[in-house]
């Protein structure tokens, strides 16, 4: 038999660490049905019984205002849940107990984990566990999640509960005082007139939510046949309570709950000593008036160098491996359509996906580390003023930072923002932030047309342009789409903690595999599609293949020196392939679209091959990293530099053969930055915003904005005398 355990607790209480300690690697990350909140579930076994643990999103309350809270309260109320495991942060017990009062009201058995007892001890807080058990009416296990202390005892407890051998759960109710209890009883009587309503959730819990003026509870009641009677009773209760107790229902309920929590803490815990905590000392520096911002910039810089300097090493190994595989296949297999598919389509496509994983993983690891240490909240604290001025939320800065790794997880990260408006705006502007896929394009283009120093400047400028545009568009979109106040900025600054290596590694692995599954499908499909578009119908032309083979044989009969013969063969191959590409479907498409982009890519109308850029950009709809691999295919030049050379053959081909100038190259970079999010991002926006409309909107405004700014780059640049 399986026991389903819901893991509930405040944000930053160490819930996920505990989840990992309980379930180990046996867990699955998915989504809650209908919404986009992450659902983590896993199993463990104890004494022959299997237990399924579901990690709920961290919430301060169950009042169902944010998507996270809605998911948590709906799941907790469902019959699926056999046991609620409430994780409490021992060093911040009082506020953590607020949620516990609500969990107790749900009517399910609740067991408690007193986590991070070491932190509490360090602050001089000693907690009497048996007294806590008595007052909470459920078993309490003290743990230190990140050192896996108390996990065995916890499993033991859950095991006995699963086998029904424990009856340590008693019903404890918070006493709301004579007046409120009276009104609660009256409301419950009305609620119980509707059996369906009574069965849906404990009547007391529903009555409390009504007193709190909870919109979700009112919606539930509105569907009931007893709704009129309940509404009347509620109005009467408010009319009685508010003048009588001097506050509205929500305040009264919150006060009584905190009263319960406060009294409990006083009973079981000693007061924290007054000495400044390490967190306070760290914050003196990290959020210092003058030092705060430079430190934040430094942290960002460090994150980047870790990702792109350290990440480059495994990236090179992977790229070299695939290159060798591709060469091996080209030599061993007979020339033809299938070989071309494999060598020019499939292998570069897979490579373009996998080569990216190390950077994603390191960057996501850094972000997870910053989040787990508590610094991310400080980053939002430091940046909120700026973000708020621009119409965004301090929490929007986190997705924007993440966006520089990959827009896809960044849009997922926008889930932390409570207000749907702020969230939507953040999602719509995040694609403007240059991601590391675009970085690859910038590196190739800037490296070709600029000196290394200027190239670095140009790339940095692109990142700032992207961020600046995101912020600007945030403001524009807010005033254009919504009127009304932005959501409140009530954010906890949790104590600094050192996350475990395991937690960071698990997070890295999850993000990496999510990227792989999305990239594996979209990028790979895109690469294959582009291969098809750029090879057909020429590759199937038998006459051309025959001619090519005859020419090769003719070279063979000349009996030239080996090097000269090889060179001639290479020239023949290039001629053959460019014949195929120049007549391909992609070429026809590029020639059709090219006039639209002529003002930015070919202002003098001198470039015969400007359509090649168009093909590469079209391919970029699928994923930005494909822009480079498509250029490599279309220009028939390798992306990998030869030994001892700074530029790769592709870059040489771009410099000498494409007709791009430094100025149009810069315009190309600007356009690449803005013109459209990749397919993965588009799909993610659709999922997160809940409609294709917003996804299409993002593509549409991106194309227009991108064209406009690239055009401005060329026009202003030429006016200033650049070429």
């Amino acid at each position: 038999m399986t026991l389903t355990i819901a893991l509930a607790g405040n944000p930053n209480c160490g819930k996920t660490t505990l989840f990992n300690a309980l379930t180990g690697a046996r867990h699955h990350v998915g989504n809650w049905p209908g919404v986009t909140v992450e659902r983590r579930s896993g199993t463990f076994e104890h004494g022959g019984s299997t237990m399924e643990v579901v990690d709920l999103p961290g919430t301060y309350s169950l009042s169902a205002r944010s998507e996270d809270e809605r998911v948590a309260s709906q799941f907790l109320a469902s019959p699926e849940v056999d046991l609620v495991l409430n994780v409490l942060d021992a060093s911040n017990l009082e506020r953590n107990l607020y949620l516990s009062t609500q969990l107790l009201e749900l009517g399910k058995p609740v067991a408690f984990v007193l986590n991070m007892v070491d932190d509490a001890e360090n602050r001089g807080v000693h907690i009497d566990v048996s007294a806590l058990e008595l007052l909470l009416g459920g078993p309490v296990i003290p743990t230190v999640g990140n050192r896996e202390q108390g996990i065995t005892e916890l499993k033991e407890l859950l095991g006995t509960m699963a086998r029904g051998e424990s009856n340590r759960c008693r019903r404890i109710t918070v006493d709301y005082g004579h007046d409120i209890e009276g009104e609660l009883a009256k409301l419950q009587t009305e609620i119980c007139r509707d059996e369906l309503l009574e069965a849906a959730m404990p009547p007391r819990w529903l009555a409390l939510q009504l007193l709190e003026n909870n919109a979700e509870a009112k919606r539930v009641v509105a569907e009931s046949h007893a709704s009129e009677a309940i509404r009347q009773q509620l109005a009467k209760s408010f009319a009685f309570l508010e003048p009588h107790l001097g506050a509205d229902g929500a305040t009264l309920v919150a006060e009584r709950r905190y009263g319960f929590a406060h009294g409990l803490v006083k009973e079981v815990a000693t007061a924290a000593d007054d000495k400044r905590t390490p967190t306070a000392r760290l914050d003196e520096v990290l959020t210092h008036r003058l030092l705060g911002v430079p430190i934040f910039v430094g942290v960002l810089a460090l994150m980047y160098s870790l990702s792109f300097v350290l990440g480059k090493i495994p990236q090179d190994w992977i790229a070299d491996g695939f290159k060798a595989l591709s060469n091996f296949a080209a030599v061993r297999l007979p020339a033809g359509e299938l070989t071309s598919l494999l060598v020019d389509g499939v292998i570069p496509g897979v490579s373009a996906v996998i080569v990216f994983v190390p950077v994603i993983m390191i960057l996501m690891g850094c972000i997870a580390f910053l989040e787990d240490t508590g610094y991310m909240a400080r980053a939002a604290f430091i940046m909120d003023r700026l973000m708020h001025v621009m119409g965004l939320h301090g929490k929007s800065f986190i997705p924007l930072i993440m966006g520089s790794g990959c827009n896809v997880p960044a849009i997922q990260a926008a889930r932390t923002i409570e207000s749907p408006q702020d969230r939507l705006i953040t999602m719509l502007v995040t694609p403007l932030v240059s991601c590391s896929a675009r970085l690859q394009v910038f590196i190739v283009i800037a490296g070709t047309f600029f000196t290394p120093f200027k190239a670095a400047l140009a790339i940095i400028a692109m990142h700032f342009l992207g961020l600046g545009l995101a912020v600007l568009m945030g403001r524009v979109l807010r005033s254009a789409l919504f009127s009304g106040p932005s959501s409140p900025f009530v954010m906890e600054l949790p104590p600094y903690r050192l996350p475990t290596l395991k937690a960071t590694l698990i997070h890295m692995w999850e993000k990496g595999s999510i990227f792989l599954t999305r990239a594996g499908t979209t990028i790979f499909a895109g690469a294959t599609l582009i291969w098809f578009l750029s090879r057909y119908p020429g590759i199937a032309n038998r006459q051309w293949t025959l001619e090519y083979q005859q020419q090769r044989q003719a070279v063979g009969t000349l009996k030239l020196p080996a090097t000269e013969s090889e060179e001639r063969l290479k020239l023949l191959q290039l001629a053959h392939e460019s014949r195929i590409v120049n007549t391909s479907l992609a070429a026809r498409l590029g020639q059709k679209v090219e006039p639209i982009l002529r003002p930015i890519l070919d202002p003098d109308h001198k470039r015969a091959e400007a359509w090649k850029d168009v093909i590469a950009l079209t391919a970029g709809f699928v994923a930005k990293e494909i822009v480079v691999s498509t250029m490599a295919v279309i220009h028939q030049a390798s992306e990998e530099p030869k030994v001892g050379e700074r530029l790769s053959p592709l870059q040489v081909a771009l410099r000498d053969g494409s007709g791009l100038t430094p100025l149009t190259a810069l315009a190309f970079m600007v356009f690449t930055l803005i013109y459209t999010p990749c397919l993965g991002t588009i799909a993610m926006i659709r999922r997160e915003a809940g409609s294709w409309r917003w996804a299409a909107f993002t593509v549409g405004y991106g194309l227009m904005l991108g064209w406009g700014l690239a055009w401005a780059t060329v026009t202003v640049g030429r006016a200033m005398g650049f070429a």
């Binding site: 009082e94 506020r95 929500a250 700026l386 954010m491």
Partner: protein, 63 residues
């Protein structure tokens, strides 16, 4: 000493976070750019914008 004058969502949120009548809070500092402020309430640290914190009525107490 606290009373929350805000309405709707902000109000509920602040109540849940411990801004109830009689609670003690301390303003720790302002963010480097001057806006949100860092408060200590019920033994934990919280950041609030001026907008929201202006809805909270406080009375100064010593010690």
């Amino acid at each position: 000493m606290v009373k929350v004058q805000a309405q709707g969502q902000v109000r509920q949120r602040l109540l849940e976070m411990g801004f109830i009548r009689g609670a003690r809070l301390r303003v720790e500092k302002l963010a480097p750019l001057g806006d949100p402020m860092e408060l200590v309430i019920k033994g934990y640290h919280l950041s609030l914008r001026r907008e929201e914190s202006s809805c909270i009525l406080v009375r100064q107490v010593t010690g």
